[in-house]
């Protein structure tokens, strides 16, 4: 729902009256405010624990590790999963379809996918994290160690002894 600060806040106000649920403000590292329903925010274990502790609900949550673009995408996921029921087969199928489209979109931009993964990790959004990591895991399937290193920007620091051990394990590694 919320994509821009001003318009989002206005929309959120309207929705708050309707739904009666609390609204929670999340602030990206660029200072942009995102207003989401509590149900959405509760998708994140980090925010859930803060809300339950009764902390700074009014002041909003600053998220210094997440930029606006990523946060918008994460909130899109949370809205879908936080506000929709998944009791019937149809509803579950709809959510699964959403997940599929969501990840297909992300898959196109690797750097952004990593950002979303990091954000999901930081915010402890179990479903999203599983979704993105699984997607990345699929992409490294069948790749050589060299390709994996490039894909994740891993520095090569194996000693001669390690290499010996790896060779011992598998000559094709």
């Amino acid at each position: 729902m919320a994509t821009g600060s001003g318009a989002a806040a206005a929309a959120a106000d309207a929705e708050e009256k309707e739904s009666g649920s609390r609204m929670i403000t999340l602030t990206s590292n660029e200072g942009k405010a995102f207003v989401v329903t509590e149900a959405s925010a509760r998708q994140s274990a980090t925010i859930r624990s803060m809300v339950d502790d009764g902390g700074c609900v009014d002041k909003g949550f600053p998220l210094p590790n997440v930029d606006s673009k990523t946060l918008a995408r994460v909130i899109q996921y949370c809205d879908e999963h936080g506000n929709k029921e998944a009791h019937t087969v149809d509803e579950r199928a709809a959510l699964a379809k959403f997940d599929k489209d969501f990840i297909a979109e992300l898959d196109a931009d690797k750097a952004f996918l990593y950002d979303v993964t990091m954000a999901a990790n930081y915010l402890h959004i179990q479903g999203l994290f599983a979704l993105t990591t699984q997607c990345i895991a699929d992409t490294i399937k069948g790749k050589t160690p060299e390709e994996i290193r490039t894909a994740f920007g891993i520095e090569y620091d194996l000693t001669a002894q390690d290499e010996e051990e790896i060779k011992e394990e598998d000559t094709h590694a």
Partner: protein
């Protein structure tokens, strides 16, 4: 976080855990810190716990050091497993899944002192000429290091008096012989299943055949009755020998136990449904035997079936049918392919002989079989032909399940080869219906041998030889038919008296 393509190690590990075993092995070769963490037991335990994708398991690989003449774990330096590699010198792997490994003693003569050998979480009894099986749990961790085996004497009687803690009283009362020597164990969940025959089988409607399930964690065994009426449908399953018409297999990715039965007229698959109250077998007819063995149509003489293995991933049953050959049956599509004609030389010697069959397994496991490399690989998955090709590129790749699966896929490859190269002519023959006449006539004799009534003598001899080979009692044919064939030959060649002993 600004756009950056580097992920911290713990996130990377989360990714690796969700990847397949082959990728994990390669990931372990990327950098030191990741390598250390991947090889750490914690990751392996997470795999076992089925976090993320349950079908993934890191494999363990052992290698025979020719210089030391012992097996050494390839990754043993960094990840100690509760498995003694020296076991591989005298035991061979039969089945494995989820870190449970079933080993069978290779050499029957285990210069035994009758004492119990305990080592590294397993124990086995040394007995002379015993048939020893051993279940190993190779993962470390609280309480799951249990291992056991029922020591057995040559006659396959389990010495259960000394294992009262393992076998339930009901089982002790029945004194089952178990497991049947040629039955492959099936691992479902944390339990290993065998087929067993009670020694008082004649008192029992189902001929005393039972499934014996041993829970590896609690070391407690229980029996599961075969589906009611299942054995009655089989052709004379009255002793352990004909148990080759039954085969246990793990299905649904190791979640369910299946029983493949060669019934009189169909090959059926039963699956054990774990209902809340009681277990229930559900039956699924896979294929009518007429569809496989067309030659039975006229005479309704069904040939003996020997199950050779079950390829779980490919869903194929591999079986030998006397006078038909090696048949590969796809359970899902119900398609049967004769992989190898029984006429094609003495191929059965290769797979029926126990030692040979196991070495072909190892062959299939390693893909190309380097001389000094033997592997015990544990995992949930098993090779399909396509995967086997992949695995040839990365032999360490874990996730090959041992015996049955490997055999299945190996023969499937061969099957495909044979199927591709053989002539496109269908195996449809026409047969003369009806039984034998009371007194053989020249016409009937000619029909039996498949020659004209006035054929040349060498034609008759040749035909006699061909039909005799196909029906020879030594290879499972019928004596009655063999005598009829001889009689037909004598009749056509006009010598000897034509009276039949029947």
């Amino acid at each position: 976080m600004a756009s950056s393509s580097t992920l911290p190690d713990d996130v990377l590990l989360e990714i690796f855990v969700r990847s397949d075993a082959a990728s994990i092995v390669r990931c372990a070769a990327t950098c030191r810190s990741l390598r250390r963490r991947i090889l750490h037991q914690q990751l392996r335990r997470r795999h076992r716990a089925g976090n993320g994708n349950a079908s993934l398991l890191l494999g363990v690989s052992y290698r025979l050091r020719t210089d030391l003449n012992t097996f050494v774990g390839v990754t043993s330096s960094s990840s100690p497993l509760r498995f003694n590699a020296s076991l591989l010198e005298s035991f061979e792997p039969m089945a494995s899944r989820d870190g449970l490994l079933v080993l069978k003693q290779r050499v029957a003569n285990n210069a035994g002192d009758g004492g119990e050998h305990r080592s590294n979480g397993f124990f086995f009894k040394g007995r002379n000429y015993s048939f020893n099986l051993c279940v190993c749990s190779i993962f470390t961790g609280g309480g799951d290091v249990t291992t056991f085996l029922p020591p057995m004497d040559p006659a396959m009687h389990v010495n259960m008096e000394s294992h009262k803690n393992i076998y339930p009283p009901a089982l002790l009362a029945r004194r089952p012989r178990m497991p049947v020597p040629n039955s492959l164990p099936a691992i479902v969940g944390r339990a290993v299943h065998w087929l067993g025959v009670a020694s008082d089988y004649w008192q029992d409607g189902a001929y005393g055949v039972r499934v014996v399930a041993l829970d590896a964690d609690t070391a407690a065994a229980r029996t599961i009755d075969l589906p009611p009426g299942c054995v009655d449908r089989m052709l004379g399953c009255s002793n352990a020998k004909s148990m080759s018409k039954l085969m246990l297999a793990a299905s649904r990715g190791g979640a369910a136990l299946s029983l493949v039965v060669a019934e009189r007229e169909v090959i059926s698959v039963w699956t054990l449904e774990e209902a809340a109250a009681a277990e229930r077998w559900s039956r699924q007819v896979v294929i009518a035997r007429v569809a496989i063995d067309r030659s039975v149509e006229a005479r309704r003489l069904y040939q003996t079936v020997f199950f050779e293995g079950f390829g779980e991933r490919s869903g194929t049953v591999l079986m030998r049918i006397v006078n038909v050959g090696l048949v590969q049956l796809d359970v899902a599509t119900k398609k049967a392919i004769v992989v190898r004609d029984s006429g094609a030389g003495k191929w059965w010697g290769r797979i029926s002989g126990e030692p040979e069959s196991r070495s072909t397994c190892e062959d299939a496991l390693t893909g190309q079989r380097p001389p000094d490399l033997k592997r015990v690989i544990t995992g949930r998955s098993e090779p399909s032909p396509a995967e086997e090709r992949q695995d040839a590129a990365t032999p360490l790749v874990a996730g090959l399940s041992v015996a049955a699966a490997a055999m299945g896929s190996r023969y499937m490859l061969q099957a495909w080869q044979a199927f591709r190269t053989r002539a496109a002519m269908p195996r449809v023959r026409r047969f003369y219906p009806g039984g034998f006449e009371r007194e053989m006539t020249r016409r009937e004799a000619a029909l039996i041998l498949g020659v004209r009534e006035r054929a040349a003598f060498d034609k008759i001899k040749e035909a006699h030889k061909r039909v005799m080979v196909a029906n020879h009692p030594d290879a499972g044919g019928s004596h009655y038919i063999a005598s009829k064939i001889n009689e037909a030959k004598d009749m056509l060649m006009g010598k000897g008296k034509s009276g039949s002993m029947f």
